[in-house]
């Protein structure tokens, strides 16, 4: 009886915050859904009313639509690949006892504190710029032509910038997981005749499985909506070469002033995110329940 009361009380006390979160989520979603079926263009206030599926058709037939979905997936996949592989490698290095360990760790983590537009601008003007950039200087030093990264490899450049920002996050999570690996297990494997590679494959990697899953899931959420880096570097171009779904919605809403069309895009983005989440959970989600 006492526990029953406590449970009821706990539910009652939690209800307001649960309700608030629910409203916080439902209202914007419902409004977006509502707008996506309306004629709602800020340049043409006279045209209002129910639009049926016109907004969806409009967004779907946009020449950038399929490319933007593909680009979204490439950014997510590419950044995940670089950050997970790179994060494991750096975490393995940082786990070794070295001189100045504390300072090295802070340095490694610092890119995460740089806000996305700033980081992208630094990469654009100081690193990848064919005229002033460090990469261009290096190319010239060795006698090669400097590469105009954002014109030649726009999507790849975006992936590199975003990966640079998220690498510290992956490293941090993986490093803490690595430090929780039992030292006696490593010693036991050593006595069992496992060399470094075997210890990595059979002991370290399975131990990191859950942390890797967390990194993948959290990063995917944020990487689906990469926007600032594209805005300040390539502006989605050349053509639509570096436009992802989030950037396409921005273009429709704020450059085309088409609230209805952008809302339809937003709903499509929600659907895409759910599809990605579904496959992701099937692929790596089982690592979480242990």
């Amino acid at each position: 009886m006492a526990t029953q009361n406590t449970k009821t009380l706990a539910r009652a006390m939690m209800a307001p915050s649960v309700l608030l979160l629910l409203v916080w989520m439902i209202v914007p979603l419902a409004m977006t859904l509502w707008f996506s079926f309306q004629n709602y263009n800020l340049l043409d206030p006279t045209q209002t009313g129910f639009a049926g599926l016109f907004n969806y058709e409009f967004f779907y037939t946009d020449p950038a639509f399929f490319q933007s979905i593909w680009n979204t997936l490439v950014i997510v996949g590419g950044v995940l690949l670089i950050t997970v592989v790179g994060g494991i490698a750096i975490a393995l290095l940082l786990d070794q006892p070295i001189f100045g360990q504390g300072i090295v760790r802070i340095l490694i983590i610092s890119p995460f504190f740089v806000m996305p537009p700033v980081a992208a601008l630094i990469w654009k003007n100081m690193i990848m710029h064919p005229g002033y950039g460090v990469l261009g200087d290096i190319n010239r030093f060795f006698g090669f032509e400097p590469v105009d990264w954002f014109a030649r490899y726009p999507l790849f450049s975006i992936v590199v910038i975003v990966a640079w920002q998220w690498l510290p996050f992956a490293t941090l999570i993986l490093l803490t997981a690595l430090q929780s690996l039992d030292g006696e297990q490593k010693e036991a494997a050593e006595m069992d005749g496992a060399n470094f590679l075997n210890r990595f494959i059979y002991l370290v990697l399975p131990h990191l499985a859950r942390a890797i899953t967390v990194v993948i899931l959290i990063q995917t959420i944020f990487l689906l909506g990469v926007y600032a880096e594209i805005l300040v570097t390539t502006n989605g171009g050349p053509g639509y070469a570096s436009t992802n779904l989030a950037f396409l919605i921005y273009r429709t809403a704020l450059l085309g002033y088409d609230v209805g069309g952008a809302s339809a895009g937003g709903i499509i983005a929600v659907v895409l995110a759910n599809i990605v989440a579904f496959f992701l959970m099937r692929a790596v989600g089982k690592n979480l329940d242990r």
Partner: protein
Amino acid sequence: MGSITLNKVSKVFGEANVIPSIDLEINNGEFVVFVGPSGCGKSTLLRLIAGLEDVSGGQIMIDGKDVTQAAPAARGLAMVFQSYALYPHMSVRKNIAFPLKMAKMDQSAIDKKVEAAAKVLNLTDYLERKPSQLSGGQRQRVAIGRAIVREPSAFLFDEPLSNLDAALRGTMRLEISDLHNQLKTTMIYVTHDQVEAMTMADKIVVLNRGNIEQVGSPLDLYKNPRNLFVAGFIGSPHMNFVDGAYAQSKNAKMAGIRPEHLGLSKDSGLWTGTVKVAEHLGADTFLHLDVDGIGPVTARAGGEFGAHHGDRVYLTPDESKLHRFDDKGLTIRA
């Protein structure tokens, strides 16, 4: 197969000289127990033999071969760790098979060996389980299984029973002794528990502050401790030490008498004491007494000896079992 020789082995961690210099001979097939209080260097010594720590000086020989610089896996030893160190994501079968897989043995031979080891250790029904689904004793057996499939020249045990409850510890003690009788392989066993040392060992090595205090068979250490430390460490309850007038009357700085060598009476005796605590164990009664003019003394009485807090009893030490120590703490031989 399985003789180990330590030659002036030493280990220094930074400023701390953990093991100054140790010489030790372990014969093939022996069950050797390293025993000592915590921080005496017994685990470090085991890890030096295993190759998990590098020696600071000296030489380690296994079967006449110098392995001082050899990698742990190359020494042909198997170790059972205090935390068992099972691989948590692998089934029991894979755990036991891991060292064989690393040795690139073919799968059918691995299966055969794992099944055989599982049978010896009563693990056959648990081969597909994960370590987290096993009890403490079963995990312990998996760890031992992982060690025996390698057919090592010697087993190293690092306080393997300290995570088990008292009843299970007794059972596992028997099982390990039994295993030693079956395999007849050299075993080195580290413990701080002198009961484990006494019950299992062929040879006990008593360590204190990185030095060997005495090496000998359990009964040898019990009967003829070389010094005060060994006398106090071996035996349960501990030996009573008496100094002052009584010791001087025996021409010693310190006299030692074990609780079981004190005659108890309610009528007459050499010493008189007041019972402070009486522990009735059934077969035995341990009396913690305050003896007049001597101080706290522990005595063992028969299970039927009824005594309670505050009772006055008489004690008489068995002079033939008396240990005498000089001012350096060394035993005075008769």
